[in-house]
Symmetry: C2
Subunit: 137 residues, 2 copies
DNA sequence: CTTGACTCTGTAGGTGGGTACGGACTTCAG
DNA sequence: CTGAAGTCCGTACCCACCTACAGAGTCAAG
């Protein structure tokens, strides 16, 4: 399997070289093996990992949370119950986000329709979408 | 209708007093009227507005984007078509987020189930959830 | 009518998440 | 075998988003 230099990884993931090193320092991507010259020699899956990080950031997760998400796996020697509990907590968190986004979408659709009918909305219509807010962490 | 001091608003919205003033400076909440003493005198809906801002932040929107969201309304004197276009762009954005979150939830559920069956997952199972990533802005 | 909690303005400091040097070394295309 | 482009490490800088003073004035319970 072909490997990548840091520049190739960065280009494919749509980030800067410095960002890749930053993520490495923060433990978000594993330290890759080095060539004799000292150059980092990335396995191709690193690109996917960085794309995941970017996307998760756009979904409002902090790097710390993303780190936790990336740690999730069933490890034979470790407490399954614990992994399961935190996975389920994350699911609840995610479902809250989905619900909020749905309400926002609804509000925007209503707004768009009001636009068509030339029904002026004096108040900000999107506000009401999250007013009876629940969810959150 | 009862009005609130800045402290009462902050407590109800779960933020600090300084944050309320910061949001005012940034134009995210309107400048409230003042009492003779100079104290800010908030209408109750300010609380909802701040709750909206917090929630939208957790969904990965920047304050700039949140500002735009809060501006959305059908204004009789302004181009409806333009408002409609940007509302629809936001809807697409939101739908991408919902889709990504759904894929993450799926991955976490599968992980949880693998846990129950004591099926060790050597690889990080959540990664694959967003690997074939689309969406984004 | 005091005392302790609250508010005012202004400015400075802090954290998360990058981004950009600088000076030396490596790679590779021509 | 040379030059341009890429990489190394370290440190310093930057932007978004708060958060924390300082010093002076306000409010309200006892």
């Amino acid at each position: 399997m072909a490997t990548f230099t840091i520049g190739a990884v960065a280009r494919r993931a749509g980030v800067g070289v410095e960002t890749v090193r930053f993520y490495e320092r923060e433990g978000l991507i594993p330290e890759p093996p080095r060539r004799p010259s000292g150059y980092r020699d990335y396995p191709p899956e690193t690109v996917g990992r960085i794309l995941f990080i970017r996307r998760a950031k756009e979904l409002g997760f902090s790097l710390k949370e993303i780190h936790e998400l990336l740690e999730f796996r069933v490890h034979p020697r470790r407490s399954c119950a614990r992994v399961q509990r935190s996975a389920e907590a994350k699911i609840v968190d995610i479902e809250g986000k989905i619900a909020s986004l749905r309400r926002m979408r609804r509000a925007l659709k209503d707004l768009s329709k009001a636009c068509e009918n030339r029904t002026p909305t004096t108040e900000c219509p999107i506000l009401s979408s999250l007013n009876l807010a629940q969810g959150g962490r």
